[in-house]
């Protein structure tokens, strides 16, 4: 896999998630294009490239999720990075049974990966709550309500992954995936 297109697409997806996707907010959650990008790479790239791409995307999400802490900004690097690393391992385990260029497969992969990543994210923040003066993002609420919010996020993101996946599949020849000819897909 060529890394330059991935990094450019990741930067674009991050900016769009932060600035534009809230226009599509439904039930308090906005869909994620970063997840669609990672799912696309997970279905097309080699196992090691897919894993590294997921970790980079997860860390990028961590870096874009500051939380206020005593009047300052606290950025915890790791919860989404670990979550995406775990999620991609699950996806790689099942991708042999999926059609790699099917848009429905993209949606399923996004859902599986985000649910697995959210599980790790909740576990990581629950573990952090044991540290002195560390407050989880859900405050005095329940971790289950936070997980429920991420369930809605995964559902909505998987729906958006269908049009996003269609656009990404148009560009498949640029990415240098193994076994893909250097010309655009024709439908």
């Amino acid at each position: 896999m060529r890394w330059a297109p991935f990094l450019i697409a990741l930067a674009l997806a991050l900016v769009m998630d932060a600035s534009l996707m809230s226009a599509l907010e439904l039930g308090g959650v906005a869909p994620s294009l970063v997840a669609a990008l990672v799912a696309f790479v997970a279905l097309q790239a080699s196992r090691s490239a897919a894993w590294y791409a997921a970790v980079v995307a997860g860390v990028a999400l961590d870096l874009s999720s500051p939380m206020p802490y005593d009047g300052r900004e606290l950025v915890v690097i790791g919860p989404w990075g670990l979550g995406f690393a775990f999620g991609i391992v699950l996806v790689l385990a099942v991708r042999g049974s999926l059609m790699r260029r099917n848009l429905l497969a993209m949606a399923i992969v996004v859902f599986i990966m985000l649910m697995a990543a959210s599980l790790v994210w909740c576990a990581a923040w629950s573990a952090r709550a044991w540290l002195p003066e560390s407050l989880p993002p859900w405050g005095d609420g329940s971790v289950f309500s936070a997980f429920g919010e991420r369930f809605r996020w995964a559902l909505w993101s998987s729906a958006i992954a269908v049009p996003a996946g269609w656009l990404l599949l148009r560009s498949v020849s640029l990415w240098g995936f193994p076994g893909v000819a250097g010309r655009p897909l024709r439908r």
């Binding site: 900016v15 600035s19 990028a60 999400l61 500051p66 900004e73 670990l82 540290l131 609420g141 919010e149």
Partner: protein, 271 residues
């Protein structure tokens, strides 16, 4: 790094994030403008034309200031009773700075917004931000850069406890905006942000509080410009199971704070 204590992360992690995001900031402006075109920001009242909206904002702004001064007068009266002399009163003024919302965290549940407006415009850490004149949105956290700042919403669990006053509406058909001048006392309440995007607190039964009453900030840990600003209205009052003599109040902001397109930052100026 995931399990590092906050004290270890604070000195450097926000700087790393700022450096990583630096090349992406220019694109945020265009995309946030596109977002405003696709979906109307929550602070815009579609039932009012532009002129009426400005007038309503101005009215709410001065109403907020009036409540702030009312709280200040009550505080000074308390001080006068306690001490013989009165120190010189801090009369710092606030200067409004309009700041469009450029972005927010791409992950769900986050209650911080990135604003276009930083130290060049006079924005400082702790400055409060409002919409529609006196609806408090949150306050600036972290170190603002020359052009950007981060706003933590009042509904963010990390904001912690908020001291506030309930402004009971005059009962029995009288008109007015409530408060001491209407013969009704402001009721103190301590609020905690709730993950559902609201604030919750407790009041005593018989305190004269009812659903629909407005709640305003009266918290000395916030800057003066934030005092008296509106936090929201009481959506429900229910008796607590563990103490039937107290009521659980749920306060909801009048606009969806995470769908705001622009805020007014009240930058404090030195006297």
């Amino acid at each position: 790094m995931t399990l590092m204590p906050p004290a270890w992360l604070l000195p450097w992690s926000a700087d790393v994030a700022a450096i990583a995001w630096f090349p992406l900031r220019p694109f945020e402006r265009a995309l946030s403008a596109l977002r405003s075109m696709l979906r109307r920001p929550a602070e815009i009242d579609s039932s009012l034309d532009e002129r009426s909206q400005r007038l309503a904002e101005e009215r709410d702004h001065y109403r907020g200031l009036w409540f702030g001064e009312q709280l200040r007068a009550a505080e000074l009266a308390g001080r006068l009773e306690a001490v013989e002399g009165v120190r010189r009163i801090d009369r710092s003024a606030s200067r409004p700075v309009s700041a469009p919302v450029l972005g927010r965290s791409p992950t769900p549940g986050s209650k911080t917004l990135v604003l276009e407006g930083g130290t060049d415009a006079g924005v400082r850490t702790g400055d409060p931000a409002v919409v529609r004149g006196d609806l408090l949105v949150g306050r600036i956290v972290g170190e603002p850069t020359a052009q950007r700042s981060t706003l933590a919403l009042v509904t963010d669990p990390a904001t912690g406890r908020l001291d506030a006053r309930v402004v009971p509406r005059p009962r029995g058909g009288a008109s007015g905006s409530g408060g001491d001048d209407d013969g009704t006392a402001l009721v103190p309440i301590q609020l905690m942000p709730h993950p559902g995007g609201m604030l919750v607190g407790e009041v005593a039964v018989g305190a004269g509080v009812a659903e629909g009453d407005v709640v305003r900030l009266a918290d000395p840990s916030w800057k003066r410009a934030a005092q008296g600003m509106q936090l929201g209205t009481i959506r429900s009052l229910r008796p607590l199971d563990r103490n039937p003599l107290r009521l659980r109040a749920e306060i909801v902001p009048e606009v969806a704070l995470d769908r705001i397109g622009a805020v007014i930052v009240k930058c404090e100026e030195s006297p």
